[in-house]
Structure formats: structure tokens, C-alpha cells
């Protein structure tokens, strides 16, 4: 326990320095600014803004990136409430009741409770990370390549189960993602694989390029196909602070949402996505009058928003302790860390304690910033949302180009975002979801490496994966999950959760 406090105070010492406070503030501000734009989710935002952190020291850069991430998340919720356009999967739920509240002239209260709930969730999640960081890092030391491989398999199975739509399509997307990760020079033999003989493919496909193409550019192309009325709320925003009644109605959903979000966020395989859905379903089940949901129930904003933020934060745990990115955003964090010469994993905490604890403390600072920045700036976001899309998307397009060019100074990278954008567009049109593909790509290289090592140790025997107890346990969980997800009755329930 003593460690817990001394670590946190070390972290706050770093996070509260004037420079890092400024960086957290700036990160939250620009993150929200870009995240508010309709159709730009956190992944595209981070990929776009990654280059602006290059000149900073590693701690400052990661603090700023974390700020950008939270800002982008909150910006997405703002868009969901004010325009009914969810910027990303997790704010779909917020749009349901949040937008109805906005139409009733209670946009301010919806934004306020979202910010306050997120802040509470962020505070709890920060403590969870601080508490679990050290023990999980110890756990990582008993993990060998066999266990790592099985853990990642379990993560991918989670991603399949949690993806919307057909399980077969999700499996196919994961396989394609892992397949894409094998493009480039084989690390053991030095032979080039599937590079078409092109020199810029020899190092493999850059993650930021793939993510920007599939999530940024494809989204623009898809939005251009939908001529839809963007109904920015015309009602007054109203007061921002929720009153006593609002608090009475929403404090329990906030606490429940925080718990659900924190737990789901820790799971590898993008569990954080499920948090808001689970919280919404739970609140609807618990409500005395479930018919209020979908018509502006404040619980429908408070719970999911808290779950969203808690999950966003606890999803740092697998990355910081085991070195496994659980979702695409964390994979971008890996990219950012590598650029600054830090290899994510259990050794970060021991070798670089100021960075580790500084980043954790700055998560809390970032949440506070959001509360302070966003509420007064709501008016500005509303104005930004009134800019027509025909002017917004060329700007987004140019920022994407500049952002991706600045990472490696390669014109081919820029062309590839166009190519992957088109691939993403085709996939969406054919009913595939790109998120599992990206996760497969993220974990692909690590999986191949660990699979090879595990098989070398076991002299080519596949049985090693079920002989070693931890690995067997992880694979058993994965199998059970997959079987459950395929059972007809559960499938129906799963579809209901996602269509609500």
C-alpha cells in the first residue's frame, strides 16, 4: 500500500510540472477540436496529430497523446449529443438519449453529466491502473512465448465475439489483418514476403498508414455517399450544470457504468467497446420505466459515458504491463512510444518509473482538463459543427496527408492511405467491419514471433499450448467464449445488444 501512494505521488510530481500540465491541456484541446468533427474518431485523430508530439521528450509526448485521446473521445460524445452523428462505435449509445435530451433543450445538461460522469470514471480508472500496474507486471514475468501467444489468441477471440454483425465476417477480417502483418521482410530468415518487390514494402506496412486509411479516408468516402440531413440542435444549449434531480437520477448509473467499463477495458481484444452497450442495457433493465430510454433519459447518457471513459483508460493496462495493445488506439500508442525509443511492456515500469507513473497521473489530470476546457467551450464546438461537410472534408483530407507524411517523410505513405482508404471503403460496402482487421494487424507480428519461439522451445510440438497450464487456461476461455457466442440463443441476445 505504501508503494501505491509513493508511486502515485511520484507520478503527480511529474504530471503537475508546468510543462506537462501545459501539454496535457494542449493535447485535450486539440484532441477535442479534431474529435468533434463528424466522422473523425479517436484513431484518425491520434494518427493525424501524432507528428505534433515528435519534438517533445518521451514523457511529455505520451502525456500529450493521452490528452489527445481523451479529448477525441469527449469530442466524439459532443458530436453524438449535438448532431446525432456518433464519431465512433462507443458513442453510438450516447447519441440515443443524448440527442433526444438536446432536442428537449437539455443539451447542456447532457454534456455536463457526460463530462462529470467521465471525470468520476477517469478518477476511479486511474486508481485501478495504479493499483493493478505493479502486480500485473509481475505476472508478465511468468509469461513465456507460449502464454503470450495464447493470450493474444484469446484477445482475438474476444474481438470476434464483440464485433458487430456476423461472426464469420469478423473471423475473416482478423485473418486478413494478421495476413497483412506478415507483409515485409521475414525477421528470422530475412526473406521478403508478399512485397511485390517494392522497396518501401520491405519494412512491412506502417500501422499509422493502415489505420489512417481504413479509419480516416474510408470514412470520408463513405460519408460522401450518404446525403443526410445533419440536424445540429437549434434549441438553446441550456444550463450546463445538472441540478439536484439530475444528480439523484444519474449517480448510480455513473458508478455502475464505471465498474462495467473498468472491468471490460482490461480485457485484451477491445473489450472497452462493449462497455457503453453493456451499461445502457443494464440501466434500461434496472429502470422503473424503461420506456423513457430513447426519449432523453439522463441515465442513458450518464452510464454509458462513464463506462466509455473508464474503459478507454483501463485499456492502457494490457499495454503498460504486458506490452500487448488491446485495441487500435493502443497500437498507435505503441507506435508513438517506439518513435521515442520506449518498448512497451513490463520493463517500462522498472526502467522508466517517472514516465510510467507520470503518464498514469496525467490521465487523471487529463480528465480534469476535459471538465475545465469543454464546458465553457461548448458554444465553440456548436459553431464548428455547423460548418458544412463539403468544406470540412477537404480540410480533414489535407490534415491526414500532412500528418502521415510527417511521420516518415515518405510520399509513398501518403499514397498508401489512399489505397487503404479505398480498401476500407470496399470492405464497408461489402458488409465487413474494419476494426477486427486492424486488431489482427496489430497483434499479427507479435503473434508470429511468439508462435515461432514457443515452437522452437517445444521442438515443434503444438501440444505445448495445452500442456502449459496458463496457456491451456487462456485457450479454454477463448474456446468457451467462441462456443457461447455461436449458440443460437446467445446470438440473438448479442444481436439485440448491438441493434439497440
Amino acid at each position: 500500500m505504501g508503494d501505491f501512494f509513493s508511486n502515485l505521488s511520484l507520478g503527480f510530481g511529474v504530471a503537475l510540472s508546468l510543462q506537462n500540465l501545459g501539454l496535457a491541456f494542449l493535447g485535450c484541446l486539440v484532441g477535442t477540436l479534431i474529435g468533434v468533427l463528424p466522422g473523425v474518431g479517436p484513431i484518425a485523430t491520434i494518427a493525424m496529430l501524432l507528428p505534433i508530439t515528435f519534438g517533445l521528450d518521451p514523457t511529455g509526448a505520451l502525456i500529450m497523446l493521452a490528452g489527445i485521446y481523451y479529448g477525441a473521445q469527449y469530442g466524439g460524445s459532443t458530436t453524438a449529443i449535438l448532431v446525432n452523428i456518433p464519431g465512433e462505435a462507443t458513442s453510438v449509445v450516447t447519441a440515443l438519449d443524448g440527442h433526444q435530451m438536446a432536442r428537449q433543450g437539455r443539451a447542456g445538461v447532457a454534456l455536463g453529466i457526460a463530462a462529470i460522469g467521465s471525470f468520476f470514471a477517469g478518477t476511479v480508472a486511474t486508481l485501478v491502473i495504479a493499483a493493478l500496474g505493479a502486480p500485473l507486471t509481475k505476472l508478465a514475468l511468468v509469461f513465456g512465448p507460449t502464454e503470450y501467444f495464447s493470450l493474444m489468441v484469446m484477445g482475438l477471440v474476444f474481438a470476434v465475439v464483440l464485433a458487430r454483425g456476423s461472426i464469420l465476417r469478423a473471423v475473416a477480417m482478423i485473418l486478413v489483418g494478421v495476413l497483412l502483418s506478415t507483409v515485409g521482410t521475414d525477421l528470422e530468415t530475412g526473406e521478403e514476403r508478399m512485397t511485390f518487390g517494392l522497396p518501401f514494402l520491405a519494412d512491412g506496412i506502417d500501422f499509422a498508414v493502415l489505420a489512417m486509411g481504413i479509419f480516416g479516408i474510408a470514412e470520408i468516402m463513405r460519408n460522401l455517399d450518404h446525403t443526410e440531413h445533419r440536424d445540429v440542435v437549434r434549441q438553446a444549449i441550456g444550463r450546463l450544470l445538472p441540478n439536484k434531480d439530475d444528480f439523484r437520477q444519474s449517480y448510480k448509473p455513473v458508478i455502475r457504468g464505471t465498474l462495467i467499463g473498468s472491468i471490460l477495458g482490461i480485457l485484451p481484444g477491445n473489450g472497452a467497446v462493449l462497455g457503453p452497450f453493456a451499461s445502457y442495457t443494464l440501466e434500461k433493465k434496472l429502470a422503473k420505466d424503461p420506456r423513457r430510454f430513447g426519449r432523453g433519459a439522463i441515465e442513458g447518457v450518464a452510464g454509458p459515458e462513464s463506462a466509455n471513459n473508464a474503459g478507454a483508460q483501463t485499456s492502457f493496462i494490457p499495454l503498460l504491463t504486458l506490452g500487448i495493445p488491446p485495441n487500435a488506439v493502443m497500437a498507435l500508442m505503441v507506435g508513438a512510444m517506439t518513435i521515442h525509443g520506449i518498448i512497451p511492456g513490463p520493463q517500462v515500469m522498472t526502467k522508466n518509473p517517472t514516465l510510467f507513473w507520470g503518464m498514469i497521473a496525467s490521465m487523471w489530470v487529463g480528465n480534469l482538463m476535459l471538465l475545465v476546457i469543454n464546458l465553457p467551450l461548448v458554444g465553440m464546438w456548436v459553431r464548428l459543427l455547423k460548418v458544412p461537410y463539403r468544406l470540412m472534408f477537404p480540410a480533414i483530407l489535407m490534415f491526414c496527408c500532412i500528418g502521415i507524411y510527417s511521420i516518415n517523410s515518405l510520399p509513398t505513405d501518403v499514397m498508401f492511405i489512399g489505397l487503404f482508404g479505398f480498401v476500407g471503403y470496399v470492405l464497408i460496402k461489402f458488409g465487413f467491419e474494419p476494426a477486427p482487421l486492424l486488431l489482427g494487424f496489430v497483434l499479427g507480428k507479435l503473434m508470429e514471433e511468439n508462435l515461432r519461439r514457443a515452437l522452437i522451445i517445444s521442438r515443434g510440438s503444438l501440444e505445448t499450448f495445452i500442456e502449459r497450464p496458463i496457456s491451456a487456461g487462456l485457450l479454454a476461455v477463448a474456446t468457451i467464449l467462441l462456443v457461447i457466442a455461436l449458440l443460437p440463443s446467445i446470438r440473438k441476445g448479442r444481436d439485440e445488444v448491438f441493434t439497440e
Binding site: 515528435f54 462505435a89 455517399d225 461489402f430 515452437l455
Partner: protein, 222 residues
């Protein structure tokens, strides 16, 4: 994202295909698998004890192919979604803008083909104006205004304040300014000129606009 989709259309049957979207998806996956198998045909698979470079890609490709076949078969057996509406205009202009940016940002050569490096000064407006035509609501004046105001902003932000290694203007441009001016000074002056041009364009063409549109009423395309 389901909120963005247009309402489900009633299933239409054309012949034996009951889920055109799955059929197309299946064919895509099979083609992808075939491509991967063809590309790895010369590589060594190795043994489980010492995996060769082709082992994983080959098995993954087989997995992708099998999923594709499953989708294909299912499309004849189960009712599913029809193919969504396509338009070529969006992707063509968006990709065109991206390629134009990539080709002009710095000297680029591919075989015998080479482009001059024009820097952000030209690549930025090119991407904005060309990309802007991806929608049929594009208006040249607005796009030029946007290009003239955003480009100097980005030049100052990325080139001057953040010092990113992004080419800002062609070297030839420095010749137009006094010889003792530094790169940064040229950058700032150019950005200033562009911003001024944007203001002038805005003021002179303001009245030619049709009746001012109430922005709040604007039905943005999304």
C-alpha cells in the same frame, strides 16, 4: 454506426443469389487468398520446429479463402443484405487529391517518371481543391478560400512552430525574396501573402453570393 445507414430495404431476389453482399464479400476474400498464395509460392514453408517465412502467410491465406467460400455458399442459402449504393465520384476525387499531394510535396521519381517538389505551398491547395470536388455540391470560390486560409495556417504551424521536416515551398521561391532572408522569413512572408489573398478574395466576392444561407439550416452532407 448503424444510425447512419439508410433504412433496411426489403430483400429483392434476382435469381439464385439471396445475399448479394455476402457473395461479393466471399469473392473478394477468395481473390485475396489466391493473391497471397500466389505471392508466397516460391517461399519455404519450413517445419513446425523451424518455421519458414511462408508458413504463417500460407495458412492464413487458406483460412481467409475458407471464410470466403463459406460466405459464398451462405449467399445462396440465406437471405441477406443487397449491395449498397455505390458512387465513383467520391473515391476517385479523394484518391486523386491524395495522390496529387504525394506527388507534389517533394521530388518524387518512379522509374523514368519524376515530379518537381513543390512543397506544402502547392500540395496543400491542390489536395483541398481537387478533394473538394468529391461532392457534387462543390463550389470553387469556397474551396479556393479554404485552401488560401488553411495552407498558410498549416505552413506556420507545421513548418515554423513545430519544425516538422515537411517541405514548405520550392527552392526556386527563395530567389524571389531578398537574398539575406532566412528560410523562416520566406515562409512567414509567403504565408502572410496567402492569408492576405484569402481576405481580399473573401471581401471582393462576398456580395456575389446568392442570398446568404442560414448555416443552421444547412443540410450538410454526411
Amino acid at each position: 454506426m448503424s444510425v447512419l445507414h439508410e433504412g433496411p430495404e426489403p430483400p429483392r431476389h434476382h435469381g439464385p443469389v439471396r445475399a448479394p453482399q455476402s457473395l461479393a464479400g466471399g469473392i473478394l476474400l477468395i481473390a485475396l487468398a489466391a493473391l497471397a498464395l500466389w505471392l508466397t509460392r516460391d517461399l519455404d514453408q519450413g517445419t513446425l520446429n523451424a518455421m519458414g517465412p511462408a508458413m504463417l502467410p500460407r495458412w492464413l491465406a487458406i483460412g481467409v479463402g475458407l471464410s470466403g467460400i463459406a460466405l459464398l455458399v451462405l449467399s445462396f442459402m440465406k437471405d441477406g443484405d443487397p449491395l449498397e449504393r455505390w458512387s465513383l465520384r467520391g473515391p476517385v476525387f479523394v484518391i486523386g487529391a491524395i495522390v496529387a499531394f504525394a506527388l507534389t510535396i517533394r521530388p518524387f521519381s518512379f522509374g523514368s517518371f519524376a515530379t518537381p517538389g513543390l512543397g506544402l505551398l502547392f500540395a496543400g491547395p491542390l489536395a483541398i481543391i481537387l478533394g473538394g470536388y468529391a461532392t457534387n455540391e462543390a463550389r470553387l470560390r469556397d474551396l479556393v478560400l479554404l485552401a488560401l486560409s488553411l495552407t498558410p495556417f498549416c505552413m506556420v504551424l507545421f513548418g515554423d512552430l513545430l519544425n516538422l521536416p515537411i517541405p514548405v515551398f520550392p527552392q526556386a521561391l527563395t530567389g524571389l525574396f531578398p537574398a539575406d532572408w532566412s528560410q523562416k522569413a520566406v515562409l512567414r512572408a509567403t504565408a502572410g501573402i496567402m492569408a492576405a489573398a484569402a481576405v481580399i478574395l473573401f471581401l471582393t466576392t462576398r456580395n456575389r453570393r446568392p442570398a446568404p444561407v442560414d448555416v443552421a439550416d444547412h443540410s450538410g452532407r454526411i
